[in-house]
């Protein structure tokens, strides 16, 4: 009995251990486990991983929108209890009557219980040599223990996007200008490596240059959304994806990227109807300033226009009427300190009218977090690079999320990962 229990509770690989087998405690079985997501939670970020893995085991759970910070009602299985205990995630045992009482409270307030039933197939767009600690989403997924695949241009070209439900983009520059770091960081080994890899990839895929390759990838990603995919982008990927989509036939890349200077009339020639979120932006013409356009409100690399960081506020939505934006803003904090990225925020002036603003800085001309639909799918853009490294600089030490287990900024990322798990009918608004 003891041996069987041990084998049941530890991974198969652990069985190779010479360590004497010993009995694990048996948990008091409860019908449900509530993972509260208010200040009672010991590790908000890992709670998403516990929920995700419950889905992977085929268990059904519910996301209690606006109930105690967006709590999870998990099955009271031994596997879930064990997983939560290992992860340090706070859970509260509930019997049927306790769960019913919560449902009754939800029914009478601006709350809702959204069933989560599908395991999203998660992919991150990143070059194969991308360091694991330089992408907030990769860090959040790793910390929460959510498995994902990495895709890059070769995989996109081969049509592998159709294998996934959810795609994340981070600081990729889809204008093909290497984040416009070429002149300021000339000689840096990491930059030389980035250029070599991108040029080799573009050549191997038959594109004339890197900007052409990246525009083609942007179009594939937009088509993925059209077909029903979920896209989540942060930092530069937000702005440059739309610039790449809108610049078909327009040279918006500096000569170091494609051999010809940028078209000085590019801003007037853009096809904004092809972009997901933005319109009427003015492009930055200088190849030496690491700024792409006036879509970004903070202009971190523009000495004359750089704006200081404030804080942004999440909007409230009706959980029963607007479950999608409600899921995306579940949090235990309403106001969150802002953080820089190559693209930090989005100027209101450049937003398309159909865009849903999820968070903004009150009184400022920019917003932080936006959402929209394209075809059968949705996209969400979140400005900034790393919510817990507000002044992020190249070469900074990686963020260790174990010291930020309650990070409200990172919670927004994980809301996006779990949101495609919601029962399909809930996603129709």
């Amino acid at each position: 009995m003891k041996r069987r229990q041990f084998v049941h509770l530890t991974a198969a690989g652990v069985a190779a251990s010479m360590w004497p087998l010993r009995r694990f405690p048996s948990w008091q079985r409860a019908a449900y486990l509530l993972a509260p997501m208010d200040d009672a939670q010991a590790d908000h970020l890992k709670s998403y991983g516990v929920a995700f893995r419950a889905l992977q085991r085929g268990e059904r759970l519910e996301w209690l929108l606006n109930y105690r910070g967006g709590s999870f009602l998990l099955p009271g299985s031994e596997a879930t209890a064990r997983d939560a205990a290992l992860a340090g995630v706070t859970t509260e045992p509930l019997d049927d009557s306790g769960a019913t009482a919560i449902k009754a409270q939800i029914a009478g307030a601006n709350m809702d219980a959204v069933p989560l039933e599908k395991v999203p197939r998660v992919a991150v767009y990143a070059p194969p040599n991308a360091p694991p600690w330089d992408d907030a989403v990769t860090m959040a997924l790793n910390y929460a223990g959510i498995k994902f695949d990495k895709l890059w241009d070769g995989e996109l070209q081969a049509g592998r996007l159709s294998d996934f439900d959810w795609l994340h983009l981070h600081h990729e520059d889809f204008t093909g200008q290497y984040s416009k770091f070429v002149l300021n960081y000339a000689g840096s080994p990491w930059l030389a490596d980035m250029i070599n890899r991108n040029q080799a990839m573009a050549k191997s895929l038959g594109y004339a240059n890197v900007p052409a390759d990246k525009r083609a990838m942007a179009q594939r990603i937009a088509a993925f959304v059209e077909r029903g995919g979920f896209l989540f982008a942060m930092c530069t990927a937000t702005e440059t994806l739309d610039l790449a989509l809108a610049s078909d036939g327009v040279d918006i890349a500096a000569s170091y990227a494609d051999g010809t200077p940028m078209d000085p009339e590019a801003s007037q020639k853009m096809h904004w109807d092809r972009a997901l979120a933005f319109e009427n932006a003015r492009l930055e013409l200088s190849p030496t300033i690491a700024v792409f356009s006036d879509i970004d409100g903070h202009q971190v690399n523009s000495p004359d226009k750089r704006q200081p960081l404030g804080s942004f506020s999440l909007f409230n939505f009706s959980a029963k009427i607007d479950p999608v934006p409600s899921m995306l803003v579940q949090n235990h904090r309403q106001v969150i300190p802002d953080f820089y990225g190559l693209t930090t925020s989005f100027n209101r002036r450049t937003l398309k009218s159909a865009v849903t603003v999820l968070a903004d800085e009150q009184g400022a001309p920019w917003v932080k977090y936006i959402h929209g639909e394209r075809g059968q799918g949705t996209w969400t853009f979140y400005g900034g690079h790393d919510p817990e490294d507000p002044q992020h600089q190249i070469g900074d030490a990686p963020t260790d999320l174990s010291v930020h287990p309650h990070s409200p900024g990172y919670r927004l990322i994980l809301n996006n990962v779990l949101f495609p798990a919601a029962k399909k009918k809930e996603l129709k608004t």
Partner: protein, 574 residues
């Protein structure tokens, strides 16, 4: 009325007038201030307005109204009152309110006009421009703030004007070398900015730091060298910073000694081994640049810093210089004895103490006696150690006697003395060590156990191999829940630190007993680390999961989760 009585009356009247002069003479103003004190901001604003309606130039009322409107987030309403005040009774305070009001309402042209009027009334004064710059910075309008600084510099014909503000602007722009130049200009005007400059430049990104240091080291000013050294130390290389500072300072300059002393003080505040070594280096340099008592003091400080940093050779080298100059004071004797005890040269330490004891302050003499007793104990001469403590009735002395008793195998008396000494004797490190020793002894039933005393003495003497062997022998003779588990854990840790992982694993597994739930999770964490070091990741993961699941309330669970996260790649490696 008699003459003295009249004088008394006049004195009382004068005093009364003096007292009333400290209160707002205007009752309406007093009421407004009282409403503000009661947090009734709307009513207070109305009262301040009422005062200004009667006396538009009342700066106190104007600033009160500004405070209230700021709280109420109705800042722009101040403008008419500020304009009226500026027209009626212009002053620095009134102009300051007007400039802030225009900037807050986004009317930079009007702000500029107000600054021009103010500057014309106060030629050569930087305050009008400073007010404009600061107000613009508060509104995050750095472009205007920068332009205002440039205008001020031209108007005042002073390229260093408002350097403090410009330094902050340049740092906010990410132009760190330029920020460093501005800080140097600010420090040249007011040396007190040195610490502020260090704090402001310290967050510079790693890539920008070499350029900042180059800018500063190319500046011949002593303040620049000091700032470079402070930053270099803050960025993780205190010894290198000290050496660079010493190399860049001019010879025979009294101000250079001031800079060295300032850097040494900064290193004392910073703490850590590197900072202590840096402090030693610069104090030695101070000694080279001074003579007599200041030089001796610097050498003693250098020796103390080296000793605290653990570099006893350097400490002894420097102390030899103190001894040779014939002017060594009590501090030097104390440091010298400490260094000799740390080096195990007990006869020399005794001789140095005996020859100087008479001129030492009583408290320092008692401390050195205890230090010598500790040295004798470590040397294995427990009788002499006990003798050195005769007559010592202090708590520190009691704690030391307790340890010596334990080394002699008298666990009961030793533990009792440690308990009586409590948590406050000696340094925090001593107290922690005492608590750990008490926790180790607590489950052991026997009153005397000389083999354990000898094992602990071996450990204190740094002979970990002998200590581990002896501890394992003692542990083998004790039940797990009567001290055996704890002693196996200690022995396992010692052996692991020596690199003998096979023996360490055997001892740690012996410590991992369900009979001793306080020790088992610690042993399992240690075992997991040992397995990780041997690339046995899956075993380590299983061990950590067992630890967390079976001992969820253990104090080591957070640490175990951290290691588990590392094993799974959930966090960056430590």
């Amino acid at each position: 009325m008699s003459r003295p009585a009249m004088w008394l009356l006049l004195l009382l009247i004068g005093t009364a007038q003096g007292l009333t002069a400290q209160q707002p003479g205007n009752p309406s103003l007093a009421r407004a201030l009282e409403l503000e004190r009661q947090n009734q901001y709307g009513a207070a604003a109305d009262s301040f307005r009422a005062v200004l309606a009667r006396t538009p130039g009342d700066a106190t009322a104007l600033m009160g109204l500004e405070r209230m409107l700021d709280v109420l987030q109705r800042q722009s309403e101040i403008i008419p009152a500020a304009q009226a005040a500026a027209a009626k009774a212009p002053s620095d305070a009134v102009y300051g309110v007007l400039v802030r009001a225009w900037v807050a309402s986004g009317a930079q042209d009007s702000a500029r006009a107000a600054v021009d009027r103010w500057a014309a009334a106060a030629p050569g004064d930087a305050q009008p421009w400073r007010a404009w710059v600061q107000a613009s910075m508060r509104q995050r309008d750095r472009a205007t703030a920068r332009a205002a600084v440039e205008l001020a510099r031209r108007a005042l014909k002073d390229p260093g004007a408002l350097a403090y503000e410009m330094a902050q602007l340049r740092a906010a722009d990410g132009a760190w070398p330029e920020a460093a130049r501005e800080w140097m200009s600010a420090i040249a005007q007011l040396p007190g900015y040195q610490q502020a400059a260090t704090a402001a430049l310290q967050p510079a990104p790693v890539a920008a730091r070499p350029r900042i240091l180059t800018v500063l080291q190319q500046d011949s000013a002593l303040d620049a060298q000091l700032l470079a050294a402070n930053l270099g130390a803050a960025w993780g290389d205190p010894e290198g910073a000290a050496k660079t500072l010493i190399a860049h300072l001019p010879p025979r300059s009294p101000r250079a000694v001031d800079a060295l002393n300032a850097f040494a003080a900064q290193m004392r505040r910073q703490g850590g081994r590197g900072a202590l070594m840096a402090q030693g280096l610069v104090q030695e340099e101070v000694a080279r640049r001074t003579v007599g008592a200041p030089a001796s003091r610097a050498l003693v400080e250098a020796a103390r810093a080296y000793q605290e940093a653990g570099d006893t050779d350097a400490a002894r080298r420097v102390l030899a210089l103190v001894a040779s100059d014939g002017s060594s004071g009590a501090g030097a004797v104390s440091t010298m004895v400490n260094v000799l005890v740390a080096a195990g040269r007990m006869d020399e330490a005794e001789a140095r103490f005996t020859s100087s004891a008479a001129r030492l302050p009583a408290e320092e003499r008692d401390q050195l006696r205890r230090r010598l007793a500790w040295g004798w104990a470590r040397a294995g001469n427990l009788a002499r150690a006990t003798a050195r403590l005769e007559g010592d009735s202090t708590v520190d002395g009691l704690a030391l006697r307790g340890r010596i008793a334990i080394f002699q195998g008298d666990l009961a008396s030793g533990a009792e003395m440690l308990r009586k000494a409590g948590p406050y004797a000696g340094s925090r490190e001593d107290a922690t060590s005492r608590t750990a020793l008490l926790a180790l002894l607590q489950p052991i039933d026997q009153d005397t156990l000389p083999t354990l005393g000898a094992a602990l003495l071996s450990l204190e003497q740094g002979d970990t191999a002998a200590a581990a062997q002896a501890l394992e022998r003692v542990a083998g003779g004790l039940p797990a829940d009567a001290g055996g588990a704890g002693l196996h854990l200690l022995a396992g840790r010692l052996v692991h630190a020596r690199g003998d992982t096979a023996s360490a694993e055997k001892m740690l597994r012996a410590a991992d007993s369900p009979a001793e739930p306080a020790v088992a999770p610690v042993a399992e964490l240690e075992l997991a680390r040992l397995m990780l070091a041997a690339a046995r990741r899956s075993e380590a993961q299983g061990m950590l999961e067992h630890l967390i699941l079976t001992n969820p309330a253990s104090a080591v669970v957070p640490e175990a989760r951290r290691v588990l996260d590392e094993v799974k790649g959930a966090v960056p490696p430590s």
